[in-house]
């Protein structure tokens, strides 16, 4: 595989001109081969790191894996004092907040992507895309700070009372308005996934061939009918991939969530209540884990997060690459 280059020598291969002296040519070939091996070794390092992460997490979570087995995933007693650990409340919190984030974020992201790809002029699309991407560049700890002092008072004062009044009869929106809790975490995660989902979905829409659009227009379609009839169906796999990429971000997001979710390991229906996520538990409890079993239980949760993010990313890349085959993956 390392010698693939010979097949593409026009672009990347070393030239072996007949005018070079044989010895010099051999020396140059040797240097080229050595350089190629060095480059290959650096590329290999990426694979080594990813496997190393998986391996070291499995090794370090050994005590917990042995003691609790698979029931670690569906028991909900998290009691460091008695060395009993079950990850269910954390898994529940992670899934609920991520689902909320997608519920709020996906419609907005699709609107943004459609507007940027199909409805705006080229110049304004460049500027607006840049602004949306800046949103992704804000450090998550700063979003968390904003969450504590701006978002939470707003959620407590306006959003939760309004939701409670309209939908208070469902268990999801019942109980007192704390501000801090699953709903606030879902909103802040939605803010964080919007730039990812909308920029990947926009790229996917750009990859839809122009003649698909022209065919719809030729049938007399309005612009919205063209988008619904040509752009969205053609890019469906890629758009789903974009959503899954956003899901990956939401599942593993740590700081902003830790700062607004309330950090209480409990499973309750009301979204107004505090909760806990895997990533937040790692951030809060890791450096103060008192026993080795406690530590390895936390590392096992990191392993769960690692496994989920592997699956989610692989699925997303595959779906996106089906539409934009040249950009995202081979």
């Amino acid at each position: 595989m390392l010698h693939d280059h010979t097949a593409r020598s026009m672009v990347g291969g070393p030239p072996g001109g007949p005018s070079l002296a044989a010895a010099e040519r051999r020396r140059s070939r040797g240097a080229d081969d050595a350089f190629r091996v060095v480059l290959g070794a650096f590329a290999l390092l990426v694979i080594v790191i990813v496997f190393g992460i998986g391996f070291s997490l499995v090794m370090a979570s050994g005590p917990s894996l042995q003691k609790f087995g698979p029931s670690f995933l569906w028991t909900s007693k998290w009691d460091p004092v008695h060395d009993t650990f079950g990850a269910l409340p954390f898994i529940y919190g992670t899934l609920v907040t991520s689902a909320l984030a997608l519920l709020i974020g996906v419609p907005i992201s699709l609107g943004v992507a459609i507007y940027l790809a199909e409805m705006s002029t080229w110049g304004s699309a460049v500027v607006l895309s840049f602004i949306i991407e800046l949103l992704a560049a804000i450090p998550s700890v700063i979003l968390g700070l904003w969450g504590i002092f701006v978002l939470i008072p707003w959620v407590r004062g306006s959003i939760e009372p309004a939701l409670g009044q309209a939908l208070g009869w469902t268990p999801l929106f019942s109980g007192p308005a704390y501000g801090i809790g699953m709903l606030a975490a879902g909103i802040i995660l939605a803010i964080m996934v919007i730039p990812i989902i909308s920029s990947v979905a926009r790229d996917v829409m750009h990859a839809v061939p122009q003649d698909q659009r022209e065919a719809m227009y030729a049938l007399g379609a309005t612009r919205w009918e063209m988008i619904r009839g040509a752009v969205l169906p053609y890019g469906r796999a890629g758009i789903i991939g974009a959503v899954i990429l956003g899901l990956g971000r939401a599942l593993g997001e740590t700081m902003a969530v830790t700062m607004v979710i309330g950090n209480r390991p409990q499973i309750v229906a009301s979204l107004f209540q505090p909760g806990y996520t895997i990533a937040a538990a790692l951030a809060n409890e890791f450096s103060e884990a008192s026993s080795s079993l406690y530590l390895s239980a936390l590392i096992e949760m990191a392993l769960v997060l690692f496994a989920i993010s592997l699956l989610v990313n692989a699925a997303a890349r595959w779906l996106v690459s089906r539409v934009t085959s040249s950009v995202m993956a081979p």
């Binding site: 650096f42 590329a43 700063i142 700070l145 599942l251 790692l282």
Partner: protein, 287 residues
């Protein structure tokens, strides 16, 4: 004027079209609103809290007014510098491999794992470095923090380098071969050098990203209330300090947190804007 001539059905379809256009524009405004709010609050709250002391003094104990983040600012710079020393060379050489050699199955796997590494939650990277470095050396250290951030930089630098090197015209390489220059010299002195602006863009984006990272530092670099420049000791960073101040119940500390947020955000935004304008100027016409 010709409303009566247009069938009702067509009017309804046009209305739908207009409503959906406004809906999408509305979604865009909703998406931008939090950005505006964050920028506004951080600027307002931060501007009144950033003082000269903030850059020159050590953190003050609870209850004592004043104090600054001099140690955290230098700590962040040190840790990010170490991360760059790790992430940039690996990323550039790996990216060069992917664009110039790696067309086969091995290249596919490298690309795939780089994307996977990019998607692994940063807190998991922190746990990995904890197991790899902190446990064997038995204490938190600036070194471990730098390695954690370095690992995070690799996939970002590798993929942008690959894309940017790919844009270098084949004719440049061929001209170099025609002069009898060996392949490896051509790679380093012609191909890579031509792509410098694009590669720098990727590096700036990667630095901007790790500059704002907190989660992988919590249990690698940890924190340190004192002045420390040593990589084998726990080291203070702006992000971890910001986090600790933000969740504490003291108004003085909240002011420090906003000040740190303003400094951090200015740095990341400047890096982002610089990276994108530089990248666009160099390659905008070619694409």
């Amino acid at each position: 004027m010709s409303v009566a001539l247009v069938p009702v059905d067509v009017r309804r379809r046009r209305l739908t079209d207009r409503v959906m256009t406004w809906t999408c524009l509305g979604a865009l405004l909703v998406a931008i609103a939090p950005l505006a709010s964050v920028l506004g609050y951080v600027t307002l709250q931060g501007a009144s809290s950033v003082t000269w002391q903030f850059f020159t003094h050590l953190p003050a104990p609870v209850g004592e007014p004043g104090g600054g983040m001099a140690n955290a600012i230098t700590g962040t710079l040190l840790v990010v510098a170490l991360a760059s020393c790790i992430g940039i060379p690996i990323g550039i050489l790996g990216g060069l491999y992917l664009s110039e050699v790696g067309g086969g199955r091995f290249g596919w796997w490298v690309r795939f794992t780089a994307d996977v590494l990019n998607g692994i939650p940063s807190i998991v990277i922190g746990v990995f470095i904890y197991a790899l470095i902190v446990v064997p050396t038995r204490h938190f250290s600036g070194f471990a923090g730098g390695v954690a951030l370095g690992v995070m930089m690799i996939p970002l630098v590798i993929r942008t380098t690959e894309e940017m090197v790919r844009l270098v015209p084949a004719s440049l390489r061929e001209a170099s071969y025609a002069l009898g220059i060996p392949w490896w010299v051509t790679m380093l002195r012609i191909t890579l050098r031509t792509a410098t602006a694009g590669v720098l863009t990727g590096i700036m984006l990667a630095v901007a990203r790790v500059l704002g990272e907190t989660a992988p530092l919590l249990f690698t670099a940890f924190n340190n209330p004192y002045w420390s420049l040593r990589f084998d000791q726990p080291i203070s960073t702006m992000t971890v300090q910001l986090y600790n101040y933000a969740i504490a119940p003291y108004d003085d500390w909240h002011r420090q947190a906003w000040a740190a947020a303003l400094v951090l955000m200015t740095l990341t935004l400047v890096l982002n804007v610089a990276a994108r304008t530089a990248g666009r100027r160099r390659f905008g016409r070619g694409r």
